[in-house]
Symmetry: C2
Subunit: 343 residues, 2 copies
Amino acid sequence: MARKSKTQSDRPTLVDVAREAGVSAITVSRTIRSPDIVSERARNKVEEAIRKLGYTPDPAASALASRSTSTIGLLVPSLTNNVFADVLRGVYEGVEGTRFFVQIGNYRYSALSEEGLIRNFLSQRPAGLIVSSMDQTPAGRKLLEEAPCPVVQIMETSPGAVDMSVGFDQLEAVRAAARHVAECGYRRPGFLSARMDPRAQRRLGAFREEAAANDMLDEARIITTPQPSSVGMGRHLLEQLLARAPDTDAVICNNDDLAVGALMEAIRRNIAVPEQLGICSYNDIEMARHMVPALSAVATPRREIGRRAIAMLLAEIEAPGSVTERHIDLGYELVARESTAPR
Amino acid sequence: MARKSKTQSDRPTLVDVAREAGVSAITVSRTIRSPDIVSERARNKVEEAIRKLGYTPDPAASALASRSTSTIGLLVPSLTNNVFADVLRGVYEGVEGTRFFVQIGNYRYSALSEEGLIRNFLSQRPAGLIVSSMDQTPAGRKLLEEAPCPVVQIMETSPGAVDMSVGFDQLEAVRAAARHVAECGYRRPGFLSARMDPRAQRRLGAFREEAAANDMLDEARIITTPQPSSVGMGRHLLEQLLARAPDTDAVICNNDDLAVGALMEAIRRNIAVPEQLGICSYNDIEMARHMVPALSAVATPRREIGRRAIAMLLAEIEAPGSVTERHIDLGYELVARESTAPR
DNA sequence: ACACAAAATGATTGCGCTGTCATCAGCGCG
DNA sequence: CGCGCTGATGACAGCGCAATCATTTTGTGT
């Protein structure tokens, strides 16, 4: 207990390094955190000692003393969803090589557990937070507003963002899909959607508006399920759609899984795509373009969202207030391929 | 500086709660960590005080004092790969509701950066570690052997596992695929593989053996690339294969992306699957069974691997040495569907 | 050579919690 | 009625680092 740490079988500490290098502990701390304010002589000695002892800083002690960590919290509603898998990749690309690391919280599309996770993350004094929606509970929102760290909300555009945001106009993107289908000459489009979280609801709303504007809204052609999205679900939903409205001539799918599933179901039934049935997907993951026929889709910048979110966060962490462009709209792109065609 | 923490604008501490509840700080600590050794009276008072003050423990202080965290490190070679996405889901399912949380490290199929990540994670005093291979550098392996926490190696079966392991026999699984193709009567099978990490290499080796045993090994039909796997890559590799060996009558793909890509390329070229070309996939992600034709595949227990790995880890953390079954073989399953058929 | 600013370094203290013992109350039992 | 025992509680120190302020060294201009 009273032994000097040197005698402990444990890892070396700052003090051990300091002794080895013949400097004070704080100098060691400084050569690690801001080498430029330490003389070259001292720096060399310290670095040598660190190498010799195999020293690595204890993040817990650092966090306690400095009252902040190198953790960036990332809240996503799902791990299953390909969309967030892509966002995640972008995020990890962005943190790679920095001193930060990411911790993922999955709130499973439950605003309540999202609130819990926010509370939980915040209690860890994170360096920054990325959250995947604007749909927090009032308490959750308040926590974010008062968070002692930068916060980036992703996926959608700014209205109501707490601090910073990166995304695109999801509603406009869906409208673009509906418009595209209408412009191709399809007159009786359906809409398939799984997992009806608030964002999916809003997208459906946007579809309704745009369809109505083109005088082709028919509630019977809107098929949704609260269950998770999957290729199998896409097949199932198309099956339902065709049972309820056999004369449907196009279908907009709320994501790629569903679109692939719908396409496969159409092929099984010998329904010609795009002639008898147009299919337009949402998000455009890599496989969509390789299907036969290749899927038309609204491409969304998922990976880029992750990258930019991290970039903003890091900039703001290094120099609070330095980020001037606090709300980024990355846009979307309608990519017409073979699964829709002018008729 | 000399102010009592009460005056600080900051969050309440253990001491604040203790004062509020009229007990000592350590009692508060105990009611949080092991409520059963605290009298009911004290527990109630403390819980009340915690609620009143909105206290949350500071994990950094806890980690420093107790010399251990609630972090579980998860090292994966890729975030893009669907296989690890599934493992990840299993892992997150497993930690949900526990006091632990997962931190992911992506070593991008580089044993060297894996070593760095191991070092890095270990310096955080994790509660446990999950690593996705047996292919560490010698130094990396040594670190794992001496790790002061339980370690689970996943994906493969035990030979050479450092501590615990969960996986299945990858080589036997590939052999099963080759055998299946042979049993269907295909005589000139090819093999497509992307991202030739050590595991992929070994699988290719197993294919070679089994193919040779069935007298149908032809090096010209083995097409690999160091690049990442994707559906597009699957199309590309099949294209190469057919250019080099047009009489190929079946193809075993090292994962589902490639298989889907190969299938799509075959469809584009009007090659009848399974009649002219049999396709057998590896892993069997959800979409594989929904393709037209449905893909035959060796199904691997990815999600279950994640779940079991966490389960073992948590058991071992709670009671070191309590886990008796330290090497779990979850097996695989050959699922014959439409993309292969007896001829 | 000297004064003075700037740069480099150091001593001290405390972050919030838990490990380790010591203490104390309550209880059954001879 | 006091003994020892168990279960509950507390006092104290220290985990390893960084903030703060004090001190020393170095460099600069005249």
